[in-house]
Symmetry: C2
Subunit: 570 residues, 2 copies
Amino acid sequence: MLKRYLPILAWLPHYHRRLLGADLLAGIIVTVMVIPQSLAYALLAGLPAVVGLYASILPAVLYALLGTSRTLAVGPVAIIALMTGAALSGVATPGTPEYLQAALVLSLLSGLMLAAMGLLRLGFFTNFLSHPVIAGFLSASGLLIAASQIGHLLGLEASGYTATTLVANLVGQLGQVHWPTLALGVGTLGFLLASRRHARGLLRRLGLADASAALLARAAPVLAVAVTTGLSWQLGLAERGVAVIGAVPSGLPPLTLPGFDGSLWYALLIPALLISVVGFVESISMAQMLAARRRQRISPNQELVGLGGANLAAAFTAGMPVTGGLSRTVVSDEAGAQTPMAGLFTALGIGLVTLAFTPLLYHLPIATLAATITVAALTLVDIPMIRQTWRYSRADFSAMAVTIILTLVEGAEAGIISGVLLSIALFLYRTSRPHSAIVGLIPDSEHFRSVTRHEVETLSHVAFLRIDESLYFANARYLEDTVHELVARRPGLEHVVLICSAVNLIDASALESLDAINARLKESGVTLHLAEVKGPVMDRLKRSDFLDDITGRVFLSTYAAWQALGKPPE
Amino acid sequence: MLKRYLPILAWLPHYHRRLLGADLLAGIIVTVMVIPQSLAYALLAGLPAVVGLYASILPAVLYALLGTSRTLAVGPVAIIALMTGAALSGVATPGTPEYLQAALVLSLLSGLMLAAMGLLRLGFFTNFLSHPVIAGFLSASGLLIAASQIGHLLGLEASGYTATTLVANLVGQLGQVHWPTLALGVGTLGFLLASRRHARGLLRRLGLADASAALLARAAPVLAVAVTTGLSWQLGLAERGVAVIGAVPSGLPPLTLPGFDGSLWYALLIPALLISVVGFVESISMAQMLAARRRQRISPNQELVGLGGANLAAAFTAGMPVTGGLSRTVVSDEAGAQTPMAGLFTALGIGLVTLAFTPLLYHLPIATLAATITVAALTLVDIPMIRQTWRYSRADFSAMAVTIILTLVEGAEAGIISGVLLSIALFLYRTSRPHSAIVGLIPDSEHFRSVTRHEVETLSHVAFLRIDESLYFANARYLEDTVHELVARRPGLEHVVLICSAVNLIDASALESLDAINARLKESGVTLHLAEVKGPVMDRLKRSDFLDDITGRVFLSTYAAWQALGKPPE
């Protein structure tokens, strides 16, 4: 029981030395890799760079205690940083104490929501974020994040969280491009893109084992940070107008208390909910993928608790909303992390950096960070998935397209909410106009299929109508129309058999309609039968009077109805 | 084509003398019957009594031109009057010109919405008002209407459109009960209730034919109005403090122009939508019932146009929102109306009354009208339906209960909207946790049913899993869990056959899940097969790569899979 709510108790007692070595190494590698990321994502959210470091310490510890994934690494991630920035800039001005305070409140609300969803077992709620909506949102966010970095790469002050404000800001300042910054930014960007494509192969050809080559290739951003920071320091780029990180305060994260301000909390409720859900969906799908590969188990509801704990930790240690991050988790996995102990080592490592090494970051150019963010963001843009969805289903594609367009133009909130509502509306619309098929017997079998698609035998005085949908209020009247058109079209009809193999539910509205159909068929001298009614549906029908009133019978199988109602033609 | 949009062209050219007699008689009878009703419903909506007469003239003519029902009688009805009063009292004070103006705007908006829904063929939209929600709303409204008349029966000024305000108003004035009014009101109420129960039988025993007895029994309210008006006039009840209708202006309805006021229109949008939808649903179900009995056809979309036209007519002739009324239609039907010409005669009759006979209405006591409304309203309360829904489905009942409670406490708008949203949420919740069953072969057949409900044959190395729901975003992850639990529970498993007979849709999210299931089963050495995939679903799957990637086969029938994957046990 305790293990269920405190998963660390499941692995810590069995911890041993061999695991320690692997976890320690992974912890050190991840520490080095995630420092530039953490700084960059804090800036993306409009927060001081050091907030990214703070959010990588205690939140990671809390997740290690409460989470069920063995390898997930928790901290600031690009998509959540973008959503955080958009939400905060709606309620405060970047650089003010109110902005910092709002970040704490957002973390707190997000943490409370995640923990509550987990404890109340409401994880299923997140399923309503359909795959096309997520994929669309990620692609649009990737574009937005990349666009938001163009200003930093050009040495301009162009911020914003929608495509329209970003473009307007950029266009207005195009005359003031700062060429040294541009050179530095584009150079770093080129280096990162080239190393992403070629570094692994190159390192392998230099004799490295594939695993080490893959890992080392991922260190390209660290190398870029080190080299450009060194250059910036040696050449005094800061004095020449290249923006650098500047003074990052030293010391452990301060303890903070998110204040209670009714209107601020209210304004941040929806953004916090969306940040929670999006962060959770991203995190859990990654965690499940890794767990499946290692044959471990993830508990979705406990994951909610783990991420909730991490966000609460962020709220009380001057942080920002966090979740399981793709790149830091992949690095941790490839570096050989075996247990959440690796996450604890990373937290310790970043704690040490924050305590003693922040002066080294002073000369780090913002343009370098912008280049690393841009490269990471562009991987979110998933063109093949967009193309595949278009090919598979126009309905799914339209939900995706609406999500993409509204995310770009109106922001994350409008994009996700519209996408989810449209998905639901399309599903309801679809089920409200169900497909139905007249079926016949496939020769030499007891199997019935559509008369329009298969060579089948039929009976002229019996119509076998297969309804391909649960019967509920939205389509109850549609069913009435379908049956009456059928009867009007075939005057010689004596029996209608409704095949209910695809009817998973008959609600009270549909029951009324069945009653009406039965009564009207009776007036026309046609007998109504049911076939293949499933157990749970039958149980429910027995609670009504319908089974007493129906003019015909309820057959176990369509074939039994075929045998009872007519001889098969010779 | 023209006939489709102007249904009068379908029957007028074939009109002949024999029909004329029947229609004229029905028209006269309905005129007499609906005058008290029309006055009463206008008062219920907080409007001058004469508005109810105005709304029975031109709107009825428009419906006769545009509607597809041969017998539907259009005018003010109780439920719509209640909703109108609730909506108007939110934006203006009864008795002011603004209140009258708001009534016109409400009629206009409602007319525009109905006509637009009809012309855009959006009639299916109204299907989302489920049967339990409608039944619950009608019952609650019946109670509310009856409660709103208690004040009039007691001679008090207790108005309101929610149970809480009504009770509060009544309790505060209980000391001021006006005893003569109470005596008159309760006397009329007793007479109406008794005649509803016994008049028909009594008249039959006096020698009348059943049809005439039924019709004459319905004249009880007219008799009550005549007698109490006479009494009131003779005894000078108005001077003794009994509230009477007073001066009703004579003359045809004035032409009115609903003014454009942005904020007023905006405030009335939702009420107008709900009035349109509720009015339409009530009207169409009655029209369809009558049409089925006479073997005529109703076109739902053209009905929307007809009711839209009627409401537009109300907006321009000092009226109020109207729809097809149950009691006036039943009277018209029983009086032998054959065509919409009867409706035209009624309109003419009420026009004559308005022109010349309104002085006769001066002494009509309000308490008499209150008694007729109360009796009509109590028939809306459908206890058997509530009990039946409770027995049939707790989900449907909860939607009904929420509708009833919120309609009583918060009003019509809150009640209907919550009921509809809850119905949709319950449906989505249900489909997000689909039922699935392990099935086996029923001996001596090719039919497969659940192993827990039937005596069936099974194979130890093949699991036949029937999924009882369309696969879409809300349950995609649930399916993954179901399959993996199944495989974890049965170590000897070599094949999983997903029986898709109840799968009417596989959306892009579910396709992702199927891909994931296929990949993970492959890693565990289990082969995935599909069976009984329907035509439309298969068409769609062919657009994806899934059919190339699946480890097993797609069988036409489950029996084919059974034959291919294993010999049946001896």
